[in-house]
Amino acid sequence: MAKYLLQRIASALLVLFLVVSLTFVLMHSIPGGPFSREKQVPPAVLINLEERYHMNDPLSKQYIDYMKNVAQFNLGPTFRYEGRTVNDLIKDGLPKTATIGFIATIFALGGGLLLGTIAALWHNKTPDTLATFIATIGVSVPSFVMATFLQYYLGYKLGLFPPVGWNNGAFKNLVLPSIALGAFPIAQITRLMRTSMLDVLSQDYIRTAKSKGLPGYVIIGRHAMRNALLPVITYLGPFFAYILTGNFIVEFVFGIPGIGQFFVTSITNRDYSTIMGMTVLFCSLLVVFNLLVDIAYTFIDPRIKLTGQKGA
């Protein structure tokens, strides 16, 4: 276990190093610097700007400096928000993004597992059709359209929830963004859970449990669901990636000043240091999360032996 952990952490660090380098190279290969806009900046000002952001240093020095800073969790200044660093933006935005992501996760996991189980229990009956229908809508409507429809109809027309704003994290402000964010994963999880539940329900041990005379909720809860969960856990990695990137849109539509919105604005503003910093942040979060998911496997499914993996 310890050996595996070390290996995984080493490879995670390697991934991060490569991603940071790649981002650096990409961002510095864009034709025109970050200060070239439609309105020309006077040359003297440009020189000053470059001096201030150390952009006249040789590229190799810039790269090493950036790497050093990133290693100390310092993502540098922003080019567009005067006097603020990328770290400031993250400090401001990350709690908001995390809150919405967390609620959306509960909503998607809870809802998806429930819908999938219901669909499997009433296979080919009305609840199944209904759950499949919801799942199909969830994967076939782009999230920004979904978010806009929710915002307009539930928020604006019916006035059930505030259509925009963060409002210091009041729960009613979080409902619509979380639903919009969870719509796609809830559909995926429902489909996964339905298939794996159908598979498990036809197993011998379920029949044994039934013939022992166990009550239905014990059979479903203790024997069927726990075994059916495995494919869903495999999906958690991509799921978390989706929650992170899906947040770009949801925060933008609902006007929530989280890191997703900062990222989208930094793209349109060509704020390269922020784009870079955010990319590094997203990747680090993902890599850490994937590591956690992998470790969680061992506890959930004892059949998986991490040390016995191929090549190890």
Binding site: S29, L286, V287
Partner: protein, 304 residues
């Protein structure tokens, strides 16, 4: 009980038992036969065909084009003259939808063609040679995979400059090939151990012949399924790019950019969002049904 003598006569064999009565079918014919029986998949296929006709033949049948402004007729509600209404500059929404459909569908097909070529090539090499090469190549994929593709797409789009159609196709194509490569590699890895490959190799077939004649054709099922399911996700991703402003730029349009434009004034004119969104959703559904149908048609486990 008396047994009649004639019960013990040998059966007359007029037809040789070895004779195959039905014409032999290829894998594709087989799959198509099963696919035809799947109603949902057929509905998806017909929907797709109509969408393609709508996008590519439609513009010749209506009298409006996608770029001419008509400032006297802004924001018209759907009517017989403009079946889907008009937009902020008085352009006919149906004409723009048709044009946007061309762009969206082209992006879907071409980018998947690119990712298919890269994926089959990469996965084929990795699976065929196996061993250390395979290990290294799959490690690289693992690394690329651990970052969400959306981030790459955004970074590359920022680097390549805003949304030319070709840029979008290339970026989406070079970002999404890892899944395909993994699937092809897995297929090749099992296929290359089969007896007919051994037989062919014994007869002196070259590597390229083995690849092109035996391995890749036999891996075709999963390749087709993956492609069918990759097209809608490419269309989705383009919609996302258009939404954050680095996709197709006006006056050109895609379904994604039309929907992104439309959502800006949804309180006063919801049609501008509704129609492109519906077009995207219908395409998604159709592709997913076709993809699922293909999976059932190609999956040997489903054979009855």
């Amino acid at each position: 009980m008396k047994l009649a003598q004639n019960l013990f006569e040998p059966a007359k064999s007029q037809i040789s038992a070895e004779h195959i009565n039905r014409p032999s079918t290829t894998m594709l014919q087989d799959a198509w036969r099963r696919f035809k029986k799947n109603k949902l998949a057929m509905a998806g296929l017909i929907t797709l065909a109509s969408l393609i006709l709508f996008a590519f033949i439609g513009p010749y049948l209506i009298k409006y084009n996608y770029y001419t402004n008509d400032l006297m007729n802004q924001y018209l509600n759907p009517s017989w003259i403009h079946p889907f209404g008009t937009d902020a500059l008085g352009r006919d929404t149906m004409a723009r939808l048709m044009y946007g459909g061309q762009v969206s569908l082209a992006i879907g097909f071409v980018s998947v063609l690119i990712n298919l070529s890269i994926g089959v090539f990469y996965g084929g090499i990795s699976g065929y040679f196996g061993g250390r090469i395979d290990n290294l190549m799959m490690r690289i994929i693992d690394i690329i995979y651990s970052v969400p593709d959306l981030l790459y797409v955004i970074l590359l789009m920022v680097v390549m400059g805003k949304g030319g159609l070709l840029n979008i196709m290339i970026v989406l194509g070079i970002v999404n090939w890892m899944g395909m490569a993994r699937i092809v590699r897995g297929q090749i890895l099992t296929l290359r151990e089969q007896e007919y490959v051994l037989a062919s190799r014994t007869l002196g077939a070259s590597t390229s012949r083995l690849m092109l004649k035996h391995l890749i054709p036999n891996a075709m099922g999963p390749i087709i399924i993956t492609s069918a399911l990759a097209i809608p996700s490419a269309i989705f991703m383009e919609a996302f790019l258009s939404f954050i402003g680095i996709g197709i730029q006006p006056p050109f349009a895609s379904w994604g950019s039309l929907a992104a434009e439309g959502r800006l004034n949804i309180p006063s004119y919801p049609y501008a969002l509704f129609f492109p969104a519906a077009a995207i959703a219908i395409t998604m559904l159709a592709f997913n049904f076709v993809g699922d149908g293909l999976r059932d048609a190609f999956d040997p486990k489903m054979r009855k």
